[in-house]
Amino acid sequence: MSLFVQSLVLGVLLGGLYALLAAGLTLYFGVMRVVMIAHSAFLILAAYLAWVFTRETGLDPLLSMVGTVPLFFVVGVAIQRLLMARLRPATLTMMSVLLTFSIALVIEGMLGWLFTGTQRRVRLPYGGADFEAAGANVAVVKLIAFVLAALSLLALYLLLTRTRFGQALRATIQHPEAARLVGIDTDRTAGYGFGIGLATAAIGGTALALDSTIYPSLHWHWIGPLMAIIVVGGLGSIPGAAIAAMILGIGQALLQIPLNTTWAQTIFYVALFVTLMVRPQGFFGGRLAQRF
C-alpha cells in the first residue's frame, strides 16, 4: 500500500513537470501549427545553463532562471519571427518540424561539444533531503520542481484568461483570420506565444536540473513522451495537455511498480497509438486538432 502511495505521489510530482512542458509544446502548435521538436533540447539547454551557473557562482540553480527565462523568451520570439515566418504556408507543418529538428540537433551537438557526453549533476546542500507525508517519502527537490511547475502553469493560465494579451493569443489560436479582422497583430502575438512556450522550457529545465542527471542526448527521452501527451490531450489544447500529462505521469509512476523503468515509459507510446486509433483528434482537443 505504501508503495502505491509512494508511486502515486511521485507520479503527481512528475506529472506536474510534464504538464508545464507539454503546455509549452502545445502552445507552439496552437499559435503556428508547428510541432516544435527542439522544445526538449531547449529544456536540456536550460538545465545545462543552471548547472554551469551553479558551478561558476556557487549560488542556487533556481536563481539562474532570472537570466534564462527572459533569454529563452527572446530566443523564442526570434525563432518565430526569423525562422518559422520564412517558411511557405503550404508546407509549414512539415518544414517547421524539420527546421526545429535541425535546431535540436545543433543544440545537442553544441552541448556535447562544449561539455562532452559525461553525465552531469548539480550538487545541492538540500539535494538529499526528504520528508514523510501521508506515508510517502517526498524528496525536497522533486517538491520544489513540482511547485515551480504548478506556479508557472497557474501564471500561464491567468495570463491566457485574464489579460488582454491572453485574449489576443487565444483568438490567434482559434481563428487567425478573424483575429486579424478585429485588429489583433497576429504575427506579433504568435511571436510572443512562441517566446512564452520557450520560457516554459527554461523553467522546466531548471526544475529538471535540480534532481536529475543530465547529458546532451537526454532530450530524446523527453520529446517522445511530451509529443504523446499533446496528441492525447488534443493538439493545441493547453488544458488537454495538462490533464493528459497528469494522467500519463501518474500512470507511468504506477506502472513502475510491476514493470521496470524502461517498460513503464512505453505507456506514453501506447497511449499515443490508442488515441490515434480511437480518437485521432485527441481527448480534449477542439475543432483545431481534427485537421492535423
Binding site: 502548435f29 501549427r33 510541432v35 521538436i37 525562422l83 520564412r86 517558411l87 511557405r88 508546407t91 507543418t93 512539415m94 518544414m95 518540424v97 524539420l98 527546421l99 529538428f101 535541425s102 535546431i103 535540436a104 540537433l105 545543433v106 545537442e108 551537438g109 553544441m110 552541448l111 556535447g112 561539444w113 557526453g117 546532451p216 530524446w220 527521452h221 520529446i223 517522445g224 509529443m227 504523446a228 496528441v231 493538439l235 521496470n260 524502461t262 517498460w263 515509459q265 512505453t266 506514453f268 507510446y269 499515443l272 497509438f273 490515434l276 486509433m277 485521432p280 483528434q281 481534427q290 485537421r291 492535423f292
Partner: protein, 357 residues
C-alpha cells in the same frame, strides 16, 4: 536527369539524352569497385550505396505524398534485426531471410501507418519519431531476444574463404541491384495513375480528396512500400556490417540523414535522394574520419538541414533548374514545378487528360 527544365521540352532528343545519362550513371556505379584504391574506399562506397537505398526508400512516402518521416530508421532497423533474427533463430538462407524480414517489417508498418495517416501531417511526424524511440527502448531492454544493449552479431552470408575486400565488392553490387529495383519502382509509380494521386495529395490533400482519390489508402500503400524498401536496405546493411546495436540502428540521426539526403537532392526527382546520399554520405564519412567521435557532426547535420529547409526546400536539382530558367523567357505560372509536372503527366498519360480540368 529528369529535372523540370527538360521535361517541358519532352522531345525524342531528351529521351535519348536521358537514356545515355542513365547508362553513363550505371557504368560509373558499376565500375567504382575496380577504381577504388583500397578496401577502405570501397567500404565507404558500400556505406554511400546503403544510404542511397535508404534515402530512395524514404522518398516513396516523402517525395510522393510530402509526408516527412523523421523516424524511418525504425524500418531500416527492423529490417536489419528481422533478417538477423530469422537467420539466427530458424537458420534459413540469409537472402531469403532478407526478403522475409523486409516483408515482416512492411506488415508491422501497416498498423503504424493506419494510426499515423488518418489525420494530417503533424500526427504523422509525431508517430514517426515516437515509433523509433519506442523501438530503441524495446530492443535495448528485451535482452534475451535481441541481444539488448550488447548488440547482436549477424552471421555472415558468405563463407570464411571470402575475404574482406571481396565482401565489400559483392555487397557493393548487391546494394546497387537493390537501388536499381527501388529506382525502377519509383519511376513506375511516378508514371502511374496511383503516382498522380499521391502527388495530388502532396499538392493539396483536400482537393485530391474532393476529386475522389482514396487519399488514406493511397498514403498507406505508399508508406508500406517505403517501409519495405527501407527494410531491405537495413537488412542488407546488417548482413554486410555483421553487427547490430539498438542505439545506432534505431537512431533519430539515421532517420534525419535520410530526410536530409532526399531533401538536399530533391524529393520530387527520381535521382535526387541518390545524389543527396552521395553528398551527405561522403561528408558524414569525411567528418567521422577527420573529427572522430566529437559531437560536431550533429551540429553540421543540423545546420545543413536547417539551411536546406530554409533556402532550398525543393532540393539542389530543382534549385539549379530554377537558376537556369531565370535566363529563359518568363513563364506565367506561379507554381512552376507543379505545372511542369502536370503538363508532363498530361502528355504521357492519356487517361488523365479529362481529369485535369
Amino acid at each position: 536527369m529528369p529535372s523540370a527544365s527538360d521535361r517541358t521540352r519532352g522531345s525524342g532528343l531528351t529521351t535519348a539524352l536521358k537514356i545515355v545519362g542513365i547508362l553513363a550513371l550505371a557504368a560509373a556505379v558499376l565500375s567504382f569497385p575496380s577504381f577504388a584504391a583500397n578496401p577502405f574506399i570501397l567500404s565507404v562506397g558500400v556505406v554511400i550505396m546503403s544510404y542511397a537505398v535508404l534515402a530512395t526508400g524514404w522518398n516513396f512516402v516523402g517525395g510522393f505524398t510530402g509526408y516527412m518521416s523523421l523516424g524511418h530508421a525504425a524500418y531500416s532497423g527492423l529490417g536489419g534485426y528481422a533478417t538477423a533474427l530469422l537467420i539466427i533463430e530458424s537458420g534459413i538462407n540469409p537472402w531469403l531471410a532478407l526478403v522475409l524480414g523486409a516483408l515482416l517489417t512492411a506488415v508491422i508498418a501497416v498498423p503504424v501507418g493506419i494510426a499515423s495517416l488518418r489525420v494530417r501531417g503533424a500526427s504523422f511526424v509525431i508517430v514517426s519519431i515516437a515509433f523509433v524511440l519506442i523501438l530503441q527502448l524495446v530492443f535495448q531492454s528485451w535482452g534475451e531476444f535481441t541481444g539488448g544493449s550488447n548488440g547482436l552479431r549477424v552471421p555472415r552470408p558468405f563463407g570464411p574463404d571470402v575475404l574482406r575486400p571481396e565482401q565489400h565488392e559483392r555487397f557493393f553490387y548487391l546494394h546497387a541491384a537493390v537501388l536499381a529495383i527501388a529506382l525502377l519502382t519509383w519511376w513506375l509509380i511516378d508514371r502511374s495513375r496511383f503516382g498522380i494521386g499521391l502527388k495530388a495529395i502532396r499538392e493539396d490533400e483536400d482537393k485530391a480528396q474532393a476529386l475522389g482519390i482514396p487519399t488514406f489508402n493511397y498514403k498507406l500503400v505508399a508508406f508500406v512500400v517505403s517501409a519495405f524498401f527501407t527494410a531491405v536496405g537495413g537488412g542488407l546493411y546488417a548482413l554486410w556490417f555483421g553487427f547490430l546495436d539498438p542505439i545506432f540502428q534505431f537512431s533519430i540521426l539515421i532517420g534525419s540523414y535520410m530526410v536530409l539526403m532526399s531533401l538536399l537532392g530533391g524529393i520530387r526527382s527520381l535521382f535526387g535522394p541518390m545524389l543527396g546520399a552521395l553528398v551527405v554520405g561522403y561528408s558524414v564519412e569525411f567528418f567521422k574520419n577527420e573529427y572522430g567521435d566529437t559531437q560536431f557532426h550533429l551540429v553540421a547535420t543540423g545546420l545543413l538541414l536547417g539551411l536546406v529547409v530554409l533556402f532550398m526546400p525543393d532540393g539542389v536539382l530543382p534549385a539549379l533548374a530554377a537558376l537556369l530558367r531565370r535566363f529563359r523567357p518568363q513563364e506565367s505560372s506561379i507554381r512552376e514545378v507543379t505545372q511542369a509536372e502536370l503538363a508532363e503527366q498530361r502528355n504521357s498519360d492519356p487517361i488523365t487528360q479529362g481529369a485535369k480540368r
